[in-house]
């Protein structure tokens, strides 16, 4: 990897994303132990699941008193987008053998956005790894610090209950560019709202996913610019 002109700019952006991940992870750690997960469970999510929105969704269901298994489906459904990122990244990264196992773990919003933002293939590969390797350790350290803080003091008094909804909103926002997306957002919110008193925690969000399936299958296909990964840092 010599004379890559974009290298310095990529490093700078990767460090920035890493720092943001640290702060984001800190919030996750605190929210997670506040939701009733242990330190070990919280760290396991950040280490193995390693996809922020799914982690917040998972602990949100646990906090709402849902059965732990009801927390699995929303987390997995939200994580489906990573499969589609992987399809787009595979020709860029061309992972083979055991390396594929490590590469897969880092396929998330931020690495995909950073990678695909680069103009040429070598820079795309470099940006993927630089972002992933800056982000993952800081995400873990952030989670650990946040979880320890959350165990020491009751952080709900400090406004941490706004973290979940704020995170979801910020991730949602860039996805609202088309009219269809805005309609689906309203539909999903309405389904979720109506079902809150009727079904166990976790189910309203799964039911909302059906709005996306129905709208995506039925609405006429119109040409529009390719979707950007949700939550791409601005």
């Amino acid at each position: 990897m010599t004379d890559l002109p974009e290298r310095r700019a990529i490093h700078r952006a990767a460090v920035g994303i890493g720092l943001y991940a640290g702060a984001f992870g800190l919030t996750f750690g605190a929210v997670s132990v506040g939701s009733g997960l242990s330190l070990g469970q919280t760290l396991t999510l950040s280490l193995l699941m390693f996809t922020g929105a799914s982690q917040f969704a998972f602990v949100g269901v646990v906090a709402a008193g849902g059965s732990p298994l009801a927390a699995v489906a929303p987390a997995l459904l939200l994580g489906l987008r990573n499969a589609f990122y992987g399809v787009g990244l595979a020709p860029v990264l061309r992972p083979r053998g055991l390396r594929r196992l490590a590469t897969a773990h880092l396929v998330i919003d931020e690495t995909t956005a950073m990678s695909l933002a680069q103009p040429q293939p070598r820079a795309r590969r470099y940006a993927f790894w630089a972002t992933g390797l800056a982000l993952f350790p800081l995400w873990l350290v952030g989670t650990l610090v946040g979880a320890l803080l959350g165990q020491a003091v009751d952080l709900s008094a400090y406004g941490l209950d706004a973290a979940g909804p704020a995170v979801f909103l910020a991730l949602l926002w860039p996805g609202l560019r088309t009219r269809l997306a805005r309609l689906v957002a309203v539909g999903g919110a309405a389904v979720g709202f109506v079902l809150v008193p009727l079904v166990p925690a976790g189910v309203p969000v799964i039911a909302a996913a059906l709005v996306a399936v129905v709208a995506g299958m039925l609405a006429p296909i119109v040409p529009h610019p390719p979707a950007q990964p949700a939550g791409a840092p601005s």
Partner: protein, 105 residues
């Protein structure tokens, strides 16, 4: 292992396998326009439901904490002003905390 541990491990392994499958599939498999569109809309529907549900869910009944709702409202203002991710959730948390401190219900 408690049920919560089982759920943590199943969800975590499942999320990892999802990434691995995406990276391993031939590009043509998920290339259908409608499949792509459903995939793009899934997080939109679920994230917006999550915002609303987390704001109103009081355990099988509606319960809204106005401090939290107002704090998230401030987050929306930050989004409208095109602020980044960190700013949005920092102002949401901070305003909720300040409101709760100065105007306890």
């Amino acid at each position: 292992m408690t049920a919560l541990w089982v759920a943590v491990v199943v969800a975590a392994v499942g999320a990892y396998l999802t990434k691995l499958v995406g990276l391993s599939l031939p590009e043509s498999v998920l290339h259908h326009p409608r499949v792509q569109r459903v995939a793009g809309l899934l997080p939109v529907a679920m994230l917006s439901a999550l915002v609303v549900v987390q704001l109103v869910d009081g355990g099988r009944r509606y319960a809204v904490d106005w401090h939290t709702a107002a704090g998230v409202g401030v987050g929306v203002v930050a989004l409208l002003l095109r602020r980044g991710f960190l700013v949005v959730f920092a102002v949401a948390i901070l305003s909720t905390a300040l409101l709760r401190f100065f105007l306890p219900s």
